[in-house]
């Protein structure tokens, strides 16, 4: 009997859905747009996070030692730096390797190569490449070095190349997030109002059936259930459509991302696949909850039992 009733409520809900099909389509469209804008927000978040991480991984401080600093001295600095809690790893490039690198880099430039040959001593100092655990730790590390006795051994410290990029990404993604957030908020608001109105119209369309139902002693959940279920339908259908729309969209964006980051290691599609239930599941739950709230308000206001 419970099952029979549930099937009937389901049938009534779908009848109501079809009876005002154009209204249903409009409602679903708006909810789809809501889903898409929320996913846009997620995409922005994921991309900016990935971009920052990719760039952060490239950030390090290069400490160029004076050419007359010996290897033991450099290694002493290395072990000193290793003892700092902010430091993640240190790469040591010896004088010889540094020279080799330099040579390779300027292979085309005969003049530089020639002048290198003329020098008896190695003019290139050793290098330490220091990676911090956290991007914000670099100033502290530099600060420590500046105030240490080792400072005089160092010819030059190279940092801040990437800081500008990170800042730019951050401000760009902050702006995009603001847009996405406002867009989502507007769509959520519109969607709630539309669902409210659609259910109101559905109740109006069915006022005779409702009157009869009440007269013959249908229980409240039988009278109200179909409208609540109809609102849930909208959420579910819109969610499925949103998934169908979002995947091709991210498929379209992916090659551009690969070009931009010059790497294929970051995949939006993988992100959405890995977090499918978390993103779409949560979004669906939220939208259903929202629809239940708006339709309940409509039911309470327009469906006096």
């Amino acid at each position: 009997m419970i099952l029979t009733s549930f099937v009937r409520i389901f049938l009534f809900a779908s009848q109501s859905f079809w009876r005002n099909i154009w209204l249903s389509i409009v409602t679903i469209t708006i909810i789809v747009l809501t889903f898409v804008s929320i996913n846009f927000l997620i995409v922005i978040n994921v991309i900016s996070g990935a971009a920052t991480q990719i760039i952060e991984n490239k950030v390090d401080i290069s400490l160029y030692f004076k050419p007359d600093i010996t290897e033991p001295q450099v290694l002493e600095v290395e072990s000193y730096l290793s003892s700092l809690t902010q430091v993640k790893e240190i790469a040591y490039v010896s004088q010889k390797d540094a020279l080799e690198k330099f040579r390779k880099k300027h292979l085309q430039d005969q003049m530089i190569i020639d002048s290198l040959e003329e020098l008896s001593a190695n003019p290139i100092g050793a290098t330490l490449q220091v990676k911090a655990k956290n991007i914000s730790d670099y100033p502290a590390i530099i600060g420590v070095l500046d105030n240490s006795k080792y400072n005089q051994l160092i010819l030059d410290k190279n940092f801040d190349d990437h800081k500008v990029y990170i800042e730019k990404i951050k401000s760009l993604s902050d702006n995009l997030k603001k847009i996405g957030f406002s867009l989502s908020a507007v769509f959520i608001l519109i969607a709630s109002l539309i669902v409210f109105n659609t259910i109101r119209v559905a109740i109006y369309t069915h006022r005779q059936e409702i009157a009869v139902m009440k007269l013959v002693g249908a229980t409240n959940w039988f009278v109200q259930g179909p409208f609540l279920l109809e609102a849930i339908f909208y959420g579910v259908i819109a969610c499925v459509l949103a998934i169908i729309i979002v995947y091709p969209l991210i498929g379209f964006v992916q090659p551009h991302l690969n070009n931009f980051f010059l790497t294929e290691e970051f995949s939006l599609i993988n992100y959405f696949n890995d977090n499918f239930w978390l993103t779409f599941g949560l979004e669906l739950l939220a939208v259903i909850l929202l629809n239940i709230i708006s339709s309940s308000i409509a039911i309470r206001r327009y469906l006096k039992v």
């Binding site: 419970i2 059936e209 013959v216 002693g217 039992v305």
Partner: protein
């Protein structure tokens, strides 16, 4: 079967529709309720099916005090009281069969039971061979008979008819009244609200007259006064 005790109803802000009504309607009785327009007859019906709650007093149906009935219990009450109105309240897009089935469907009755009950109630109202017609293909009297059939699906102990013949001609009116009398003979308590003095006078059963929200007369075998 039905007891009204010191019942008053004031529609906000100050329309006193019923004033201190005291009535006792016994099981299997056939009661006509008459009175001028706006004297509270429909209000009495609406309180009986818990569409309105009384402002004062008590109402007891079949030993059940429904004065402060809970929202969730109203459906239980309505399944025990069949109601028909002047405007039939049939669904125009459903056939006779579907209209009656609808009343059972929304109460969770299963398919087999519905198929079993509908021929029975259609037989009572004499519409066995018109179950596939739409309301617009029926006369007013036939439409009202469908409404009565629908009111009977839960085998109610009480049948309330609020001006059931208001829209009908003399011939159809007679048929509906005869049908109500027949249903009463089967053991159902019938409450007939009517304007029609000829009808009421021909029934020769209890007549309660309301005047200005009060019971002005209550005759065992009555005539339409006023």
């Amino acid at each position: 079967m039905i007891i009204f005790k010191n019942l008053s109803k004031i529609y906000p802000p100050d329309v006193a529709a019923l004033k201190n009504i005291n009535l006792h309607i016994r099981p299997k009785e056939f009661v006509s309720i008459v009175g001028r327009s706006g004297t509270g007859k429909t209000t009495l019906v609406r309180i009986l099916i818990a569409e309105e709650s009384p402002t004062k007093g008590e109402i007891i149906v079949g030993g059940w005090d429904i004065t402060n009935i809970r929202q969730s219990e109203i459906p239980v009450l309505r399944r025990q009281i069949g109601v028909v109105f002047q405007d039939f309240k049939l669904l125009s897009k459903k056939t006779v069969f579907e209209n009656i089935a609808f009343a059972l469907e929304v109460c969770g009755t299963d398919r087999e039971k519905i198929k079993e009950i509908i021929p029975q109630v259609l037989k009572i109202v004499g519409l066995e061979n018109k179950q596939d017609r739409y309301p617009r293909q029926l006369s007013g009297g036939e439409q009202q008979r469908v409404a009565i059939a629908r009111a009977l699906v839960h085998r109610p102990k009480i049948l309330v008819a609020d001006e059931p013949t208001g829209n009908l001609d003399a011939f159809n009116t007679r048929e509906i009244v005869d049908l109500l009398l027949k249903i009463n003979e089967f053991g159902t308590t019938v409450l007939l609200v009517s304007h029609n003095s000829e009808v009421v006078n021909s029934i020769n059963k209890r007549v309660i007259t309301l005047d200005n929200g009060q019971v002005s007369s209550d005759q065992k075998v009555g005539k339409y006064l006023l």
